[in-house]
Amino acid sequence: MISEVLLSTVRMATPLIFLALAELYSQRAGLVHIGLEGLAAIGSLVGFLVSLITGSPMLGVVAGAAAGILTNMIFAYATITLCAEQIVYGMAINIFAPALAAFIYRVYFGAGSELVQVGLMSTLSQSLGIQSDNFIVQLFLDQTPMVYLAYILVIVTVIYFNRTKSGLNYKAVGEYPKAAATLGINVIGVKYVASILCGALAGMGGAYLTTCYANTYVDGNVAGRGFIALAAVIFGRWTGGGVLLACLFFGFCDALQIRLQVGSFGIPYQFFQMIPYVATIVVLALLGMKKAGPKGVGKAYLPEER
């Protein structure tokens, strides 16, 4: 049972890792993004469609990332160039992107169509032809490439922000854009790059849901993961490693609730489903007042202020 929950934890944490990294890259450049839920929705739909059409879940993920980037360019233009309030615009994306996803689905499949299913990405052990009930083998080999990618991205992120010159400049943009600009760092450019990264990662996180996790698309399948990822970034203190741990924790909560539903004990299953959401609230409440995170987050940057 424990091994089952742990395996499930890895599966449940993966989309969160993509989404939380998306938020991390956005916030590190000073852009708080509460529209991940929407980006993931469109990524999930496009990922589903492309993997259905091409038969390749991998292409689905790539397309999901592209869709995430495109959608996030709206956010980027509005908040970076037009200086719209980031929170408000994130909200707009949360309304727009899922509506767009639902629309495309209806148009493509027609109203009242049957649930369309798609083949999932094969795991490494499937590709290698290994079959084993061994827990360790399952944990490390019976995973889709997306899982490995998520962990590689975490490591890359940690190295990027702590060891590279570019990462240092990137962080400066989120902390004190004006100072960064006087040092010749292209603040607007970094913010746009951040939005591209954020869109791609969030789109991939969404696409994971329809190419690796469930074999079909339904409206609302992101189910608050975009917001939990936001909490994971806060919980993870804006560092790659912290975010990973936070995502694993929330993934574990999700895995636990799925496992508990099976045992049920006569308790309505919805109470178990509440666990990840309640855990998020409790974690944030326990975290308390400590203020942290990039100082320039949420503020628009106007190059020539006067």
Binding site: F96, A99, F103, G224, I234, M274, G288
Partner: protein, 355 residues
């Protein structure tokens, strides 16, 4: 000066709506429908007959409540994104009271409405307390509470108050349902929504506390330095905005919905936020926007039947309105743009003076 500001602030949503419709029409045309026919059937569906008007108003009612909830909270600088959860808690409590306590009629209605408002207020207060005393991000908390409320409603309709084999609750007794407005499908819940809207408007713009609440929302530090009890205002705005949403849930349940079922209330909270933002947090404008959104939704069904354009086109139009309005409002605040407006304003003033 003030005059031009007002015109610009009104122009932005109007232009956004037009733009969204243009894009909507392009989509319709791309789907092979005649946009003119589609728009016409959309209009007929929403306002063509008294019956349709009634449907539109009844669909608008819950949206008005959640939009007012958002208006009230944001005016105090509180990002309550939990309108949906607060709405549902109001509906849940009213459902329990109206079907389980054995009282019916007006006393039951009044009890339901009060309890619904209380439930919404308390649900919102959870986020409020965590924000004020634990410094936490109220957006995430209130959204998480939405999911919890939705799941809790699930417990009610699949388990506790399940109506036989169907996953839904028993219906509100006939005597406890809100009466209809003449022959319309809309009920007194709509009137209640209008009254709440007027009250919110009066409070915000004609009372001292409302004035102070807006000051808190615009600049918390200055409000604190000027002696306002900022924390109290914030907590109060959580409670009141939650209560408005809860009252909405209660009224909608007694007026139109009657039973809790899967998917009820889904999206109402975020819709409310969107409408409040388009209305620029003005409660009366929020009512208008809510009716507009409801009309799009109701009319789109007729449009689908008549022209085959899927109803989700209207969702796209609504979403575009918010995307354009918020961007537009930001754009007109940009210094470059401000300069242009100011110049135009001075020119027109000079012209008038010259005349």
């Amino acid at each position: 000066m003030k005059h031009t500001n007002r015109i610009v602030n009104l122009l932005v949503p109007v232009v956004s709506v037009l733009l969204s419709f243009v894009i909507g029409c392009i989509i319709m045309a791309a789907l092979g429908a005649n946009p003119a026919t589609a728009l016409q059937s959309l209009w007929i569906g929403a306002f063509g007959t008294m019956r349709n008007v009634g449907t539109t108003l009844s669909r608008a009612t819950p949206l008005i409540f959640t939009a007012l909830c958002a208006c009230f909270a944001y005016r105090c600088g509180v990002f309550n994104l939990g309108g949906e959860g607060q709405f549902l808690m109001g509906a849940i409590v009213s459902c329990v009271i109206s079907t389980q306590l054995g009282i019916t009629g007006l006393p039951a209605i009044i009890l339901c409405l009060i309890a619904g408002a209380l439930a919404g207020g308390i649900w919102a207060l959870i986020a409020g307390v965590l924000r004020v005393f634990r410094g936490q991000n109220e957006m995430i908390i209130s959204i998480m509470l939405n999911y919890v409320a939705t799941l809790f409603m699930g417990v009610i309709y699949t388990n506790w108050l399940r109506d036989g084999s169907v996953p839904q609750t028993v219906a509100v007794p006939d005597e406890t349902q809100l009466s209809r407005l003449g022959d319309l499908r809309a009920t007194t819940a709509f009137i209640l929504a209008l009254v709440v809207g007027l009250l919110v408007y009066y409070f915000l713009f004609h009372t001292s506390k409302g004035f102070q609440l807006r000051a808190v929302g615009l600049n918390m530090t200055a409000a604190q330095f000027n002696g306002f009890a900022v924390k109290k205002f914030i907590l109060m705005s959580f409670i009141v905005s939650g209560a408005i949403a809860g009252l909405g849930g209660s009224a909608d349940l007694l007026g139109t919905q009657f039973r809790l079922i899967n998917g009820y209330g889904s999206g109402y909270g975020f819709d409310g936020v969107a409408m409040a933002l388009i209305a620029q947090l003005h409660p009366i404008a929020a009512i208008v926007v809510a009716i507009f959104f409801a009309a799009l939704r109701v009319g789109s069904t007729t449009m689908q039947a008549a022209t085959g354009v899927p109803t989700s086109v209207s969702d796209i139009i609504q979403a575009l309105v918010i995307v354009f309005t918020v961007a537009g409002l930001a754009m007109v605040k940009l210094p470059q743009f401000r300069a242009v407006i100011d110049r135009m304003a001075t020119k027109s003033v000079q012209k008038k003076e010259a005349v």
